[in-house]
Amino acid sequence: MTVVNQTSSVFRDTAILRARELVLSFGETPALRGATIAVSRGEILAIMGPSGSGKSTLLHCLAGILVPASGEVYFEDERVDTMRDAERSRLRRDRFGFVFQFGQLVPELTAEENVALPLLLGGTRRDEALRTARAWFERLDLAGMERHRTGEMSGGQSQRVAIARGLVTNPDVLFADEPTGSLDSLNGELVMSLLTRAARDQGSAVVLVTHEPRVAAYADREVVVRDGKVANREGAAP
């Protein structure tokens, strides 16, 4: 693509994550039809687009959850789409964080155990993991909720616990798929405000999928996905 060639020298230096000409179908239904995108280090990027446009599929490909049928995904200089499953799992665990629409907390665990989970999976000792996890509660306006379980927290509180879990490993990239989708306006704003502030504080890039303009307005930049492609001209590169 011409646009990518013109800008590739720019984003080669600054991009932490980039994907080129991604194609992926689910059965007969095409989801991505040549999507190209780049995310800068520390950048908060909103991916917008109508339902079924391919924006969540694009996020899943960037995060190494899905493998495109063709095209390339790079994290720093590593080719993600050709990695073995175990390597991609390690990349997701060690370098990425995730927040989804419904917090997807583990109901059997307390809030602080949920936050500590990625550290525990990465081999951190339990007491150290819990200590690190607890430090996030005040930061996300959750002081006193450490021992609560999901049933004892509101939707907004659960989602803030999910944000803490997403950021606790100090990831290079936090992937957030409709993180406010299940919240009312006021809680949605609190979540976005805390999410973006925490990510900026520790320099994590954020790839934020949303169909809500007011949520996208917390990002540094937005791209629009239409019919499986990144539509706006400046979308491919920062």
């Binding site: 109508p50 405000s193 502030r197 303009p213 007011r214 307005a217 917390y218 629009v224 706006n232 400046e234």
Partner: protein
């Protein structure tokens, strides 16, 4: 926004000097577009002339020695204004709509225009979001007002984008 009615409304709280009214107006409603003293005193003069306010002179000279008090007629005017809903204007009948339809009529890329307009709207929404996060509650509420309106425009822009081919058929038939 009606500056005279807003000043009159501020005056409805208590008798004030022009300087105090300007300060409060700028703080709550100015948002980077403060009133000039000339405009304040000219407006207060007209309100007094029209029987909406009374002027009480205090010892000394200069406009700041005048204290303004709202009259019963002025109070009724403010209350009637506050109770009256704004016309629910169809904002779509604006440049945005005209540009899309004219672009189609002239064979110009309406989708490209919508994309540029969309980016412009979102850039402004980012500014307002920043303001909301750095300012106080008054800033946040004003920013929210703007954000919700811009969001409504954006939804219209996105829907129009999805309907461009149907709209083109209709306009060109």
């Amino acid at each position: 926004m009606s500056v005279p009615l807003t000043l009159l409304g501020l005056l409805d709280r208590e008798s004030s000097h022009g300087y105090d009214l300007k300060r409060d107006y700028d703080a709550f409603f100015g948002r980077g577009r403060p009133l000039s003293f000339g405009q304040v005193y000219a407006t207060l003069g007209r309100l007094a002339r029209d029987g909406m306010a009374m002027v009480g002179a205090e010892p000394g000279a200069g406009p700041d020695r005048k204290r303004y008090t709202i009259t019963d007629a002025g109070r009724a005017e403010v209350e009637a204004w506050l109770a009256e809903p704004l016309p629910a204007e169809p904002h779509l009948q604006t440049d945005l709509f005209v540009k899309v339809v004219l672009s189609i009529m002239l064979g110009l890329p309406a989708g490209k225009y919508l994309d540029v307009q969309r980016a412009t709207h979102l850039a402004r929404m980012r500014e307002l979001t920043d303001l909301k996060q750095t300012g106080g509650i008054v800033d946040a509420m004003l920013a929210d007002f703007g954000l919700f309106h811009l969001e409504a425009d954006l939804r219209w822009i996105d829907l129009t984008y999805e309907r461009l081919s149907i709209l083109t058929d209709e306009v060109m038939s």
